[in-house]
Amino acid sequence: MARLLILGAGVAGHTAALHAKRILGKNHEVIVVSPNSQWNWIPSNIWVGVGKMKQEKVLFPLAPLYQRKKIEFHQGLATAVYPEGGNGHESPYVVAESTMEETKGQTVEIEYDYLINCTGPKLNFAATEGLGPDAGNTVSVCTASHAHEANEHLQKAIESCRQGKKLRFVVGTGHGTCTCEGAAFEYTFNLEHVLREEGVRDNAEVYYLTNEAELGDFGVGGMTFTQQGFQTTSRLWTESLYRERGVQAIVGAHCSKIEPGVIHYEQLDGSTHELEFDFAMLLPPFKGADMKAFDKKGKDITDEVFNPAGFMKVDANYGAGAYENWTADDWPKTYQSPKYDNMFAAGIAFAPPHQISVPRTSPNGTVITPAPPRTGMPSGIIAKTVVLTVVDRIKGKNKPAYSSPMTGMGAACIASAGMGLFKGSAASMTMHPVVPDWQAHPNTGRDEKGTSGEIGLAGHWMKHLLHILFLHKAKARILWWMIPE
């Protein structure tokens, strides 16, 4: 009997756990360690954040599901990994700290044969002074409870507008190295839609403040769409939507400090500014889980297993250097640790080799470049790929590891721009591949047929359909495994 240990029960970890158990069956153990008792369908947090969906609709408890699926669940936070064993353990093991009320802080040591690290992002609000719900100046939609709180603030602001006050709403990225610009874009247009619906749009200024050097970059260096016989850029396409909806933008911005009602930011030209606001939803930058790694003798090998930001090193080329030298080949394929061949990382937890967007620094030396996004679809696909490799190893098949590089993988991004069965709207984008491969696609870096963007009600229906389908899948209901990642 082999034991697969999965750290994290988000998009990647939960996908990995369900597929692993389905394929491995009763003869092998699948164990999940994750700090939250509930699973969260994060993309729909956007709707929670504008009061269009209840928090309960994006959450469900994990323990009963894992019990039904015979997956062992430890509600806790992994703090250290011992890939060579030690301290009396023959096998490698992970130390996890309980996050359950009754046993909070108690640690367990869980041995494994194979480890998949799916610990996703740590929301690094501390990177910008005054950023985030704890500091109390800005809100976030990164978790369901953040989104719930964001909506409470939003409703108060709407009420003020109703009473005739003119307010400024700012949505965007709270640091020069943020990722997930798609989520900020989505929240901007949902908020704008709600303000119109509530009849207070005339009393509201809406700003999008971003670390992207230009609109439509989305952390993937922008896209080229073919529309009605022309090639157009995601930049022009996005700017058109901002004009149509009357949303102002500030690009190439790094927030250096947030004070009550004031955002201090620096732009790519080195200039510094202050922007007053009444309501601000600013995303934090991400870092990896604060996990340590030790060898058999107890020596700290964290910097060999993880990169300085805490993301796990895998089979990527981390020595590519300057932008001119970047190639598609730098991106990982099997997501296996180069140091320990029974350790893998999937989703946001793996250390990318570099950004996808062109790296930029202000004359003051401030890095203002989106980090590479690893959205839901790539996170799920990578998780399943890694599971298939682990299954082969467990079953003793002498086959090479499965490969799913982000230079061969597409992504679909349906950015909601307002809810409502007939009044809703969304910007539906597909790109293939996520990371441009200029050798395979010399014109635009991507497959022109697989890269597209369109705006309309159909996108909203699609987004709603995805909400239903992915919750069905995450709850492992009938034929869940047929729904692609």
């Binding site: 700003y207 697989g450 159909a458 692609p484």
Partner: protein, 56 residues
């Protein structure tokens, strides 16, 4: 409230001259029949991308 236009004139100018959708386009984006057709289109495109994306 401070005035932001002066801080980022480049992007504001770009947005000001970005192509605006025509009334016909705006109507088509909300028309249930057109959008049902587009839903099929988006689905086919997404399925193609998914099919091309899975592991080897």
């Amino acid at each position: 409230m401070n005035e932001v236009l002066e801080f980022d004139p480049g992007i504001m100018e770009r947005i000001a001259v970005a192509p605006l959708p025509t009334k016909k386009t705006l109507k088509a984006r909300k028309n249930v029949f057109v959008q049902l057709w587009r839903l099929i289109g988006i689905n086919i495109r997404m399925l193609k991308v998914i099919a091309a994306s899975h592991h080897r």
